[in-house]
């Protein structure tokens, strides 16, 4: 199972290490750095690296590498999934997970890691439980702690660990009982040059923020559950009930969590809400190129489209963009070569448009 964990920042410093079994020297990370050097972008580093004695399994999140070291056979996905869970937990605790945050809270981080794994095997990974074991830091508590001398480590065992509902802490009390559900849908589509859809998929999530006292047992039914043919649930959802009745029945954890996610595959027809009309020519005269993009609504069922953001990853040779928009703002990051245009709401009468020139250095041939 997981032997050690190293957290590495983008410049290649190991700034945190944790060992669950005997200590492994951090020189093992050299193998990782070798691969890092070879890869053109951090995304390209293979998640599993085999070295003579160890296996390095890494994830890349918020521009840090979390490298787990294993010595024996283990399902790689198990480790990857666990590392992501670690990052999720950090994000849950500190609201974001950056190098400076981790450095600032190294004690909490260390305690968390200690609690999450025992001898390399996951022990407590539910945030509800962890929060009972180790209180998340906040300013108020820090002050209170210094005044009263109390600690942020709880002295009692979280009862959730002991019950059949390991994801919910007991004794929750709210004066206002409320539950919020967010539905998020993402459409992934590949659209060819002529504008016809090659393939499109929907990935949807139901995120909840539930603040209810006691042990609420909720059920949620859908008007047209047939649409969900490929779903995944938070462990609190009862599988059987879903299979027989298509009703989500669950005792929710306290606070924020993702109740379910669903996937509507490429077989079904997906309506894409916007279209993009573009004319892009990166090599026109000498070093300049031309860019002209117009956005328009498509199949919106009468609703307006808001908060539209357009991102265009530019080829490496592009140096800068001089563009004019009739709506919203644009930014171009010359390092990551990403052009971001924040459009906002799409007005049907005046379609948003961006046009201008693109400067690029001219050595390699470009294909778009």
């Amino acid at each position: 199972m997981i032997h050690s964990l190293f957290i590495i920042n983008p410049s290649g410093d190991v700034f945190m290490e944790k060992h669950w079994k005997s200590v492994i020297s951090r020189s093992v990370c050299d193998y990782f750095f070798d691969h890092q050097r070879k890869a053109s972008s951090p995304e390209d580093i293979p998640p599993v690296i085999a070295t003579p004695h160890h296996y390095l399994i890494s994830v890349y999140r918020s521009s840090m590498f979390f490298v787990a070291v294993c010595t024996t056979e283990v399902a790689p996905l198990f480790v990857v999934e666990f590392l992501h869970r670690v990052v999720d937990t950090f994000e849950d605790y500190f609201s974001e997970c950056t190098e400076s945050i981790i450095k600032e809270h190294y004690v909490v981080v260390y305690e968390l890691l200690d609690e999450m794994l025992d001898n390399g095997f996951p022990l407590a990974t539910e945030s509800n439980i962890l929060k009972e074991l180790i209180k998340p830091p906040n300013i108020l508590r820090t002050i209170a702690n210094t005044v009263t001398g109390k600690s942020n480590v709880s002295s009692t065992l979280p009862s959730g660990q002991l019950s059949n509902i390991p994801w919910r802490r007991t004794g929750v009390k709210y004066t206002n009982n409320e539950a919020y559900f967010d539905m998020i849908e993402e459409v992934d589509a590949i659209i060819d040059k002529s504008g016809s859809t090659v393939c499109a998929e929907i990935q949807g999530y139901i995120d909840c923020c539930i603040k209810l006292s006691g042990m609420p047992d909720l059920s949620l039914s859908f008007v047209n559950p047939r649409l969900f043919d490929d779903v995944s649930f938070h462990p609190c959802v009862r599988f059987k009930r879903w299979e027989s009745e298509r009703v989500l029945s669950f005792i929710p954890p306290d606070g924020n969590f993702r109740l379910m996610s669903y996937h509507i595959g490429s077989q079904s027809i997906v309506a894409i809400p916007v279209y993009v009309r573009h004319s892009l020519c990166l090599r026109e005269s000498g070093s300049g190129g031309r860019l002209d993009i117009t956005l328009g609504p498509k199949q919106t069922l009468g609703r307006t489209i808001e908060n539209v953001v357009l991102e265009i990853p530019m080829p490496k040779s592009v140096l800068n963009c001089g563009l004019v928009t009739n709506q919203g703002k644009y930014t171009f990051d010359p390092v990551s070569k990403l052009l971001v245009w924040e459009v906002g709401r799409i007005d049907v009468t005046k379609l948003p448009n961006i046009r201008g020139t693109v400067t690029n250095c001219h050595f390699s041939a470009l294909y778009f």
Binding site: M16, F78, E81, N119, G171, E178, F181, S232, Y367
Partner: protein
């Protein structure tokens, strides 16, 4: 600061020390000062000292021993949290001297009342094992006990310990097999992964191959089988189904809902379970869930795609409907793109190749050199796998030869070379066109390929080949090694077919090679010279070798078969580390082949006996047992029926409920395991049953309970008796419901304590909440999504007030 008597200062000091440890700086010289604080009353200080101890105890064994007595004391602490953490730290201190102490502690903890402590004990077993291998036998005994445990909390960890300590002792699993299957859904995610992986191995060793019958029919041609599988239909499936061992079926059935887990590792482990053990007709069920994982993080995608790529080489049909999900997105990382290409090409069939080729064409225009190269190779693979499109592909590739990008041209040349080899029919124009490219292409691999082609098919282009050789001879010295070798080959081949024009050239080239820096080249030159120009060596006539030279050099060569790199991974368990890196990892457990004869399934039946022994006196004293020993699965659950009945009988006097509860507490233990199933079962069954029992006279109920007990799945029977009870008094339904639900509720969330006292303690924790898990009144659904929050509120309040 550590010596100060103020906790605050100590805490601050410890925090700094831990900070040093976390950054990987050496902090071992502080060991004596830190160890003293292990007795600290302050929990936070204590915790940090523990963390420090675990890190450095190995280096300072003698000093570490000082702390042992503290842990021993803590092991007896009434608080389970303290007991557990003491055991955790004690077992994590890697000091050989304390092995006997840890052994003792583990034994005690394994019999602890608190499942949390037992879980810790399970974790401690592999730790002790890695410290001292001699303890194996004794540890296995403890482990056996823990495997019997029925708490979801413990089971996952116990199986993990089993995998690390004695994965070869498969006999320990027999009696727990059914229990593990039924608990599977409720175990924590990480435990599920371990259990499923272990059960896969178990299934491979204990059940016969479900595909055995078809193998005979389809072995020689697997493809046809897959293709008409869709038509292969119910009857054949039904014919096959009964041959599956009921336990095998149970395993597959209980794993299936886990395909909907949020944890990718769980999903993939179920997928590999199906891949390795399920009948062929059922494997495709996992495809959809695997596709869903592709929306996850990059690392997850990578690993899942690797698994799919390996599966797709053998089970095309499974992923064919999802072809479009493998289309490459421009935002994908390069290695993911490559994997997707790999999958696309292995999925290509006559019907789908058109779409795939169109996609591949677009990919060629991308600006990611390795990806473009792979796309061109993919076109080549499609072309050679599917005969119908070979010509189209070839034409497409030829048109790529005029591409502006050197790399694209070079890659196409290499691929065309391979394709031409598989198609011996004349492609004169292509060869001529390629010959022209010699002047412009600079990539050595491509130049070498062109030269080889010219040499091989020189008869078709008799005019051009010598000319090319002339050009190459001119630039010979500045070429790369790989090109030089091919120049020599070309020279020799031409020399054999067309000696008039090229003999001198050939001699010249060989002469050049003779003085090359690379000894491979010199060797090759010497070798070729002796065959072609034997006169140089000794002034005799042509040797026997040189007579055969034509046969040697111009023999027809077998065409390369482009294959997936993932073909050879079959030997490893899908989703394992070894599978991913394609070499055997440390500690990898081979997946055994299916046995021809299934081992005796009775081995798994024995499970019931020890429990019956324990439980029998308790409930026979109370009521007539309706237990049926002939059923397998019901044994664990049947005690519930008993306890339910107890509650029913005590229905009339509410006040007695509590005491009844206590006396039947031991039985309630069992209930918890199936809590989830029960509650869902209850609600499923409710509407139907109510109608039924209402129609019946009251006296029938007892009978009906017995009948329902005979039902195979006893979770249903529980709900039956419950619902009947409630409906039996329609006049006071609402009141009754809550009262009936109460005992059930109280019993459910509590985790198997061993004694009444403990039960009470635990009840204290839980009862204020009165988890309305089983309350049928909760049937109200929050229908439309539009106003969910307000609905929830109104729905919940009555329940919470219970």
């Amino acid at each position: 600061m550590l010596d100060s008597n103020k906790d605050n200062l100590k805490l601050e000091a410890m925090k700094r020390i831990i900070g040093m440890v976390a950054k990987g700086r050496e902090a071992s010289d502080l060991f004596p000062a830190v160890v003293k604080n292990v007795v600290s009353k302050n929990i936070e200080v204590k915790k940090l000292v523990y963390v420090y101890l675990v890190r450095y105890a190995e280096e300072q064994q003698d000093l570490a021993l000082l702390s042992i007595s503290t842990f021993q004391r803590a092991l007896k602490d009434p608080n389970q949290l303290i007991r557990a953490s003491a055991l955790r730290v004690l077992s994590s201190i890697r000091v050989t001297m304390i092995v006997p102490i840890v052994m003792l502690a583990i034994k005690d903890a394994a019999a602890d009342m608190s499942p949390y402590v037992r879980k810790t004990a399970a974790h401690a077993i592999p730790k002790l094992y890695s410290l001292d291998q001699d303890q194996k036998e004794e540890l296995i005994q403890v482990l056996e006990k823990l495997l019997y445990d029925k708490t979801t909390l413990v089971v996952g960890s116990a199986v993990m310990a089993f995998e690390e300590v004695c994965p070869e002792r498969i006999d320990l699993i027999h009696k727990n097999f059914r229990k593990l299957c039924s608990l599977l859904v409720d175990v924590d995610e990480w435990g599920q992964v371990v259990i499923i992986n272990m059960l896969t191995r178990y299934a491979r060793s204990q059940f016969t191959d479900p595909n055995l019958q078809d193998v005979d029919e389809d072995e020689e041609s697997k493809r046809p089988f897959y293709e008409d599988e869709n038509e292969v239909d119910e009857e054949q499936q039904e014919k096959r189904a009964p041959t599956l061992d009921p336990d095998h079926r149970l395993l597959l059935r209980s794993a299936k809902p886990l395909l909907q887990s949020r944890n990718a590792a769980v999903v993939l482990s179920v997928a590999q379970l199906y891949h390795h053990t399920a009948p062929r007709s059922e494997v495709h069920q996992v495809a959809k869930a695997m596709i869903r994982l592709l929306r996850s993080h990059r690392e997850v995608q990578d690993i899942v795609l690797t698994s799919i790529a390996a599966t797709a080489t053998r089970r095309k049909v499974m992923f064919e409907p999802f072809l479009k999900s493998f289309f490459v997105r421009s935002s994908d990382a390069t290695h993911i793109k490559l994997l997707k290409l790999e999958i696309l090409t292995s999925l290509a069939t006559e019907s789908s190749v058109g779409i795939i080729l169109r996609e591949l064409q677009t990919y060629v225009a991308a600006h990611d050199p390795p990806f473009v190269a792979a796309a061109i190779q993919a076109i080549g693979r499609c072309a050679s796998n599917i005969k119908e499109v070979t010509d189209t592909c070839l034409n497409g590739l030829v048109s790529l030869l005029s591409n502006k990008d050197q790399a694209v041209v070079a890659e196409s040349v290499v691929v065309i070379k391979k394709l031409l080899q598989t198609q011996p029919s004349a492609h004169r124009e292509i060869i001529i066109q390629m010959a022209k490219l010699v002047d412009s292409v600079t990539v050595p691999q491509a130049r070498a390929s062109i030269l080889w082609l010219l040499g091989e098919y020189s008869e078709r282009v008799p005019k051009i080949a010598p000319d090319v050789l002339r050009k190459m001879a001119k630039t010979f010295t500045s070429e790369e090694d790989i090109v030089k070798l091919q120049v020599m080959t070309l020279a020799v081949k031409l020399c054999l077919t067309n000696p008039k024009q090229t003999k001198l050239l050939c001699q010249y080239v060989l002469q050049l090679a003779k003085y090359d820096q690379n000894y491979d080249l010199r060797d090759r030159a010497r070798f070729l010279r002796h065959i072609i120009f034997p006169a140089d060596a000794e002034s005799g006539g042509p040797t026997r070798l040189s007579k055969q030279a034509k046969k040697i050099f111009l023999a027809p060569k077998p065409a390369p078969v482009p294959e997936s790199h993932f073909k050879d991974r079959e030997q490893f368990q899908l989703g394992s580390l070894s599978h991913y890196i394609n070499t055997k990892a440390n500690g990898y457990q081979e997946l055994p082949p299916f046995p021809l004869e299934a081992p005796d399934p009775k081995a798994r039946d024995v499970e019931t006996e020890p429990q019956v022994m324990e439980q029998a006196p308790l409930f026979t004293a109370k009521k007539v047992s309706s237990k049926k020993d002939s059923k397998f699965y019901s044994d664990t659950e049947s005690p519930e029926d008993e306890s339910e009945e107890d509650e029913n009988s005590s229905d009339e006097d509410d006040d007695d409920d509590e005491e009844e509860e206590d006396s039947s507490s031991d039985k309630d233990e069992e209930e918890d395991d199936n809590e989830d199933e029960e509650s869902s079962g209850l609600e499923e069954k409710l509407p139907k049953k109510v109608v039924k029992s209402n129609a019946k006279p009251k006296s029938d109920e007892e009978e009906e309970e017995d009948e329902s007990d005979e039902d195979d799945s006893s979770s249903e029977s529980v709900s039956d008796s419950d619902s009947e009870d409630e409906s039996s008094e329609p006049s006071s339904v609402p009141k009754k419901q809550t009262r009936n639900a109460k005992p059930a509720k109280e019993s459910t969330p509590v985790v198997k304590p061993k004694s009444n006292l403990d039960l009470l303690l635990d009840l204290d924790d839980v009862s204020p909440a009165f988890t309305p898990i089983m309350t049928p009144s909760l049937g109200g659904f929050l229908t439309p999504m539009s106003t969910p929050s307000s609905q929830v509120k109104t729905q919940l309040f009555p329940d919470i007030q219970v």
